[in-house]
Amino acid sequence: MDISLQQVEYRYQANSPFERLAIQNVSIDIPSGTYLAIIGHTGSGKSTILQHLNAILRPTEGKVVIGDREVTNAKKQKNLKEIRKRVGIVFQFPEHQLFEETVEKDICFGPMNFGVSEADAKVRARRAIKQVGLSEDILQKSPFDLSGGQMRRVAIAGVLAMEPDVIVLDEPTAGLDPRGRKEIMDMFYQLHKERNLSTVLVTHSMEDASQYADQIVIMHQGQVYKKGTPREIFYSPEGLIELGLDVPEVVRFQQKIEETFGTKLAKTCITLDELTDEIEQLFKRGEPK
């Protein structure tokens, strides 16, 4: 399902003393099957954009096109549930949304709200719990007896069980240890490939963005600062560094090499392997002297 934001503006608490402009003139296209990463500092408007993707927020200006639906400020929209069924959001710290007596019931909650029968929902729960790397016997436990990391996985399973076409992730690995972090990111990536989903990842981590995303959008003070493929974005990392944003280690290393030897590598490297190859090439050519 294609999603496209067209000149979207959003003001929080419009017409009150607390009115605050969160995003402005934001246009982003997310064609079906894209893995898009949105990066920016706290308060740059990332989370606000994310909430537009399934019509939790409606733009105060501009429009959001989700599949064949158009969401604007103009009229009260009916049947937004249809959108939410197809766009699943994993919010930050999703473990805060758990409430049922058992893990199974909690995972079934989403699908059943969207009209899936109980039997089908249970099948989905079984599948989802395996996807997030937990064992089936956890299904009968109370979600509140689990560890923090397990709760996070259960909450994610709850969104996966809805089987959305588009999956939106708001810092899904915040507060996890490095290993859990990688496992979860890899799991989402695999899912993205296998089911041909669109994935939108909101993150602080340039490493994650450069490693998984096809497209990166950099947000700065509520506006799109830059967008493009990781290679385009990191071709000139100076601007990013000026904004105080992190640059992936590989890019930083390439920059150092180029500075030290006063030469340019043939292309902007994103992965470690690419960089190794490029450096090898450099030495083979006989440079640097």
Binding site: Y12, Q13, N15, S16, P17, F18, Q51, N54, I56, K81, R84, K85, G88, I89, F91, P94, H96, Q97, L98, F99, F109, G110, N113, F114, F144, G158, V159, M162
Partner: protein, 265 residues
């Protein structure tokens, strides 16, 4: 979704109301609550309404914002009015239809009591709108100090108040977040049949409760880690100071009270 709530919210501005000492503000509102009951006819209620309106104006809090925030309360006021219309049976019958008859006394009572109710809420919200929660509790603590003599836990009460006031916005934020997360999971909080909307409360309330308990525990640990041991020997960073504005504000209320006593029937 909870953006319009005004209870317990502070709006910074420069105004006489904001400049007042919290002690005098609390006394003012407390006296107002008593004075409201002096009014018993159109003139006195009119006077009260004018006074309240001027107070709101002088506070520089946008009126539209206050009224927007009080919309829920307005329903309560309307409810009171309707209740009185139907159940107070005094004076002449104004309207009669089947089993329903509306009396003159009922209409008058209904209007007066709703106005009184509305003014009370307006003034008390004005207190929290122009005073930071910390100032309010400081004020209350000082005002209640004499009760310490009879072993009343004044400091603890003040602390409890400041903690609950402090966490209202946090709780609101949390409610908003959980509502959004559950909306994304297909819950409909607004719209849809009543039965579904009532059921939607469970996935909201349970996470909220669990979060609050967790936070309470964390707060207690954090306080202990920073050496909190009750109010003993504690000094204050913010000193309260009585100034001219406070005296003037209380005098104005005194004048209004005198006028009310004069004009009441």
């Amino acid at each position: 979704m909870m953006e319009k709530m005004i209870f317990g919210r502070y709006i910074p501005a420069v105004s006489p109301m904001h400049r007042m000492d919290p002690r005098s503000k609390i006394i003012l509102v407390f006296l107002f609550v008593c004075v409201v009951f002096i009014a018993n006819n159109a003139i006195t209620y009119g006077l009260l309404a004018i006074y309240t309106f001027l107070m709101v104006l002088s506070s520089k809090v946008p009126i539209r914002f206050i009224l927007g925030g009080l919309r829920i309360v307005l329903w309560l006021v309307l409810f009171t009015l309707v209740l009185h219309l139907f159940f107070t049976k005094e004076g002449e019958v104004l309207f009669h239809w089947g089993a329903i008859s509306i009396y003159e006394g009922g209409l008058k009572q209904g209007i007066f009591i709703s106005v009184r109710f509305f003014l009370l809420i307006l003034m008390t919200s004005l207190l929290t709108l122009t005073t930071t929660p910390i100032e309010i509790t400081d004020g209350i603590e000082v005002l209640l100090n004499p009760l310490k003599k009879i072993k009343f836990p004044v400091h603890e009460l003040a602390l409890m108040m400041s903690i609950s006031l402090r966490f209202i916005p946090t709780l609101m934020e949390e409610t908003d977040k959980i509502m959004k997360a559950q909306t994304a999971r297909g819950v409909e909080f607004s719209g849809g049949p009543i039965k579904d909307r009532v059921k939607a409360i469970i996935p909201l309330l349970i996470p909220l409760f669990i979060g609050s308990f967790k936070r309470a525990e964390e707060l207690a640990t954090a306080m202990e880690a920073r050496g909190y041991r009750g109010g003993e020997g504690r000094t204050k960073y913010r000193q309260l100071r009585w100034s001219l504005v406070d005296t003037v504000m209380l005098l104005i209320l005194a004048v209004v009270t005198a006028a009310l006593v004069l004009f009441r029937s």
